[in-house]
């Protein structure tokens, strides 16, 4: 292997790793706030990518009907769960969030999609269509589970993943889609040819991370989310409704997932069920990072990306074997550092 191949592989790994990092961040966030391991995170990536791909080719994405359906389901679910308590203002807010919001997004899409409103609008639209699905799903599937065990929440997330994959096939079909890149620019740096899209991915990933950092460090809402993660009871005691924190965390997960999808669909083909493997990489990174540390997750994600790109060069048939076997010693090391075997308390 010469230096140029080495550099290209690193570049490839870092670009993929950046996406894994975004997903890892949102998995860490969702787990910390709600104790849910969001197996279905990858679906938001796939839906985001496919929705953007449809918009970028002037089609009206089927995902808007999925959005509408989920909004309706969340409306009904919320009404049922809080049938004894929801009144006046709360009911109105609930209806605005679950009915009016999707209706507005659907209307905007129907108007804008055929008009080819430009990349920025299309990106925003794709993200807007997919993002609210996550909080709706939280309301439908997880909020009623309250204090269930992590295992039950995990299996619920698996069930959600199954249902969403099925819905993905219905709404997007079995074939893959690709979108034109945000820019066709190609930057030459020595042996490296860095496509404009890769710059976009790295740039937006970095921007998003900084944005998240600012959100968590500087705003009271962000701090409230962190507080919920650190101490749920403490958060409830200062008046943070943990269900709302869950909705917010899922909203961020949906947003990050959708954005990741939009970012990668110009680089690779996205399939209705393709998000799962991407999500699994994010999950891997999140856990190696300790399922609690944001910088740890990012670092682990980059590591996973690079490991993948190198093993696909060395022995592509055994890529997964290599990547996943390499994880085990890391896990062992982390596990021993975190004290052994005691999962209680």
């Amino acid at each position: 292997m010469d230096l140029s191949i080495f550099l290209i592989l690193v570049q490839d790994g870092v670009v993929n790793g950046a996406i894994y990092a975004l997903l890892a961040l949102s998995l860490v966030l969702v787990f910390a706030v709600t104790r849910v391991i969001l197996v279905a995170q990858g679906e938001f990536v796939a839906f985001g990518g496919l929705t953007y791909a449809a918009l970028a080719t002037g089609q009206t994405p089927g995902a808007i009907w999925l959005l509408g359906g989920l909004g309706l389901a969340a409306f009904a679910g919320g009404l049922w769960q809080e049938r004894r308590r929801m009144r006046g203002g709360a009911l109105l807010r609930h209806a605005l969030f679950t009915l009016a919001l999707p209706a507005a997004i659907i209307a905007a899409t129907l108007v804008l999609a055929p008009r080819r409103a430009g990349i920025v609008v299309e990106v925003l639209l794709a993200v807007a269509i997919v993002t609210p699905m996550a909080p709706y799903l939280y309301r439908i599937a997880f909020q009623p589970l309250g204090n269930a065990s992590v295992l039950t929440l995990l299996i619920t997330a698996v069930a959600l993943h199954l249902a969403l994959t099925g819905l993905g096939l219905v709404f997007f079909g079995p074939e893959g889609f690709r979108a034109p890149p945000f820019s066709d620019a190609m930057i030459l740096a020595g042996p490296l040819m860095i496509p404009g899209q890769a710059i976009w991915i790295l740039g937006l990933t970095l921007a998003l991370m900084l944005g998240l950092y600012a959100f968590f460090e500087k705003t009271l809402t962000g701090k409230a989310l962190r507080a919920t993660a650190v101490n749920r009871l403490g958060a409830r005691l200062v008046g943070i409704p943990t269900a709302q924190a869950g909705v917010l965390a899922f909203g961020l997960a949906g947003f990050i997932g959708a954005l990741s999808g939009v970012l990668i669909v110009p680089l690779t083909t996205v399939y209705y069920d393709g998000g799962f493997m991407i999500g699994l990489r994010g999950f891997t990174a999140a856990i190696i990072g300790g399922l609690g540390s944001y910088p740890g997750a990012v670092l682990a994600a980059l590591l996973v990306g690079v490991a993948e790109s190198f093993s696909s060069f060395w022995a592509s048939a055994f890529k997964e074997v290599i990547v996943f076997t390499a994880i085990i010693p890391v896990l062992l090391w982390r596990s021993l550092r975190h004290g052994n075997g005691e999962d209680e308390e």
Binding site: T152, T156, A159, V170, E320, T325, I327, L331, S335
Partner: protein, 590 residues
């Protein structure tokens, strides 16, 4: 030998009766086939009950373990023309060996690291199967012979049914036996009571490995059945998705219950099959709504029954356990000579980051005395306990017991020296009855292996252990509560159960962490009497307590701690009068 009650045997009877199902006239043939798939899945799910539901280790790799068993017998019977019956022991052996190897690394992982660990090796093995010429790569091996009995090939689904459900019966029976044995109590203590179990001599790492290998062997067994029914094998049934299916079955059925595994396997298999028929009638043949509807059903069921369905059908009620009071007593320790030095703690130290929780503590304990350890919260009393009993490792200093060095030894080693303890935050296993919890205390006094438990060869010994547990429960005055769920008792009583459990160890030294907390006056008096009697029998006692009245009337000597340091040491009256103690601990609120 104790006879298991009818209450326990009825699920087995049901399975046995089920053996007749395929022979019911008019029974649709495909239903038998479905039940065959159910049976195979149920065996895997039973393994997951032990591993995940009871042992608390989530595995995403069960299907891959099935693959180990399946491929072994496939290779032997297809390529070497060996009888499928030889494939059974070979498959089990290979699975057990593989699982021991994988498990040796994996079960050391904790929590989510473990779950990801199982994903990692399962993905790794999957792609290894898919790229290995020996096992036919992605296309796999087909044309594998079916099972034969006396030259008769078991091709008919009803024949397979008999074999498969005999297998389910065996798996369920063996698992029930295992869980009811000495090793099984250790497995059941893993979730929620691992520290306590370790403090009574359970080797938790080995117990975790045992649960892992046991569940793997069941999966390997299922793999053997699968191959000779399916008669072909390729990597697709051993992937991540299938592993999730098995986990899902266990959780839906009720992950902590063997009948739950059967229920979950049956439900998932049946619902998936029925959906294929029902949905096209509802939505037309063009869509694929099965996974959508299945996922939604699953979510609905979990909201309705977060702990799975079986607990809704049968509420957890520990069965009444018949005690053989005449069982021969277990061998007892010889107590050290009264007044000899029993425990020496020298400059014991524990740092947590920058915080010094225990700061160079010294004290000694003489055989046959009661020593009280007092001080405000955070003074380091419980940490000191944990350092002595091996639950925590000291940063410095020495712990010597009967002349031997105990510093930094693991909890089970400390227990083996005859040191038993109770916990400030009660650590009883909620899913076990009071007497089963107490019997864990006698773990080191029994020797039956897991295999003996599985085959029920341990009954004589187990009867002795339970007789001992019953005796100790009676001693602390809780004989009536023996068969109640442990956590149904009031907190104060649970502390007393912990004392009974500690006594089951036949301890030389008893460490009690706030034993009187939550007790009423008369109960405290009874506890005092019990502890004095124990002292008179030669047991040495070290106790942490807040209740000064209780302590003052009981102990021979007091050690006062504050901010991790020893403030005073001496007879109660002298300590009470010590101005430093009054200033820092007893205080005087105006």
């Amino acid at each position: 030998m104790t006879r298991p009650g009818l209450a326990k045997l009825w699920p087995l009877a049901c399975i046995a009766l089920a053996g007749l199902v395929p022979w019911i006239p008019g029974m649709p043939a495909f239903w038998v086939t479905l039940l065959n798939y159910t049976g195979i899945a149920a065996i895997v799910a039973i393994g997951l009950v032990v591993l995940t539901g009871i042992g608390g280790m989530t595995s995403f790799g069960q299907a891959t373990l099935l693959g180990l068993g399946a491929y072994t017998t496939a290779i032997m019977s297809k390529y070497y023309d060996l009888s499928p019956w030889l494939g059974l022991p070979a498959g089990l052996l290979v699975t057990a060996a593989g699982a021991t190897l994988i498990g040796a690394v994996t079960v050391r992982l904790s929590g989510h690291y473990l779950a990801l660990g199982t994903i990692a090796w399962s993905v790794g093995l999957y792609y290894t199967f898919a790229n290995l010429d020996l096992v036919g790569r992605n296309d796999g091996i087909s044309g594998i012979p079916p099972l034969e009995v006396a030259g008769y090939r078991l091709l008919d689904a009803r024949m397979s049914f008999t074999v498969i459900w005999l297998g389910v019966l065996l798996a369920a029976l063996a698992t029930m036996n295992l869980l009811d044995s000495r090793a099984g109590r250790a497995i059941r203590a893993l979730k929620g009571g691992a520290v306590a179990a370790a403090s009574f001599g359970v080797d938790t790492a080995r117990t975790r490995l045992l649960a892992f290998v046991y569940s793997a062997v069941l999966a390997g067994f299922a793999g053997w059945l699968y191959v000779h029914m399916q008669r072909s094998v390729n990597p697709t049934p051993f992937g991540f998705y299938q592993s999730i299916q098995y986990l899902l079955m266990a959780v839906i059925g009720g992950a902590a219950h063997i009948p739950g595994a059967l229920l979950g396997a049956a439900l998932v298999t049946l619902v998936n099959d029925r959906l294929q028929d029902i949905l096209p009638k509802l939505f037309g043949a063009r869509g694929n709504y099965e996974s959508i509807v299945f996922g939604m059903l699953l979510i609905a069921v979990l909201q309705w029954a977060p702990d799975g369905l079986w607990p809704l059908i049968a509420r957890f009620r520990p069965r009444r356990r018949a005690i053989q009071a005449d069982a021969p007593r277990l061998a007892a320790q010889t107590m050290p000579e009264r007044g000899s030095t029993l425990l020496e703690v020298v400059r014991l130290r524990r740092n947590f980051g920058g915080l010094v929780a225990v700061n160079d503590i010294d004290f000694t304990l003489k055989a046959g005395e009661i020593l009280g350890l007092i001080g405000p919260n955070g003074a380091g009393k419980s940490t000191t306990f944990n350092l002595i009993t091996g639950v925590d490792t000291p940063s410095g200093g020495i712990v010597r017991f009967r002349g031997g060095d105990l510093t930094g030894r693991p909890a089970r080693h400390v227990a083996a020296q005859g040191i038993a303890r109770t916990f400030q935050h009660v650590k009883l296993v909620p899913t076990m009855s009071v007497i089963e919890n107490v019997a864990i205390g006698a773990h080191l006094r029994g020797h039956a292996s897991p295999l003996a438990g599985l085959l029920r060869l341990d009954r004589a010994e187990d009867a002795r252990l339970y007789a001992e547990a019953a005796r100790q429960l009676a001693r602390v005055g809780l004989a009536d509560a023996a068969d109640r769920p442990a956590t149904s008792l009031a907190l104060g009583q649970q502390r007393i159960v912990e004392i009974a459990r500690a006594l089951c160890l036949d301890p030389v030294l008893l460490l009690l962490d706030e034993p009187a907390a939550g007790l009423r006056h008369n109960e405290k008096a009874e506890l005092s009497t019990l502890l004095r009697r124990l002292r008179d029998e030669g047991v040495t006692i070290l106790l942490v307590e807040h209740d000064m009245e209780f302590v003052m009337g009981l102990v021979d000597r007091l050690v006062v701690m504050d901010f991790g340091t020893k403030l005073a040491d001496g007879p109660p009256d002298a300590v009470r009068a010590d101005p430093r103690v009054i200033e820092a601990y007893l205080g005087s609120v105006e």
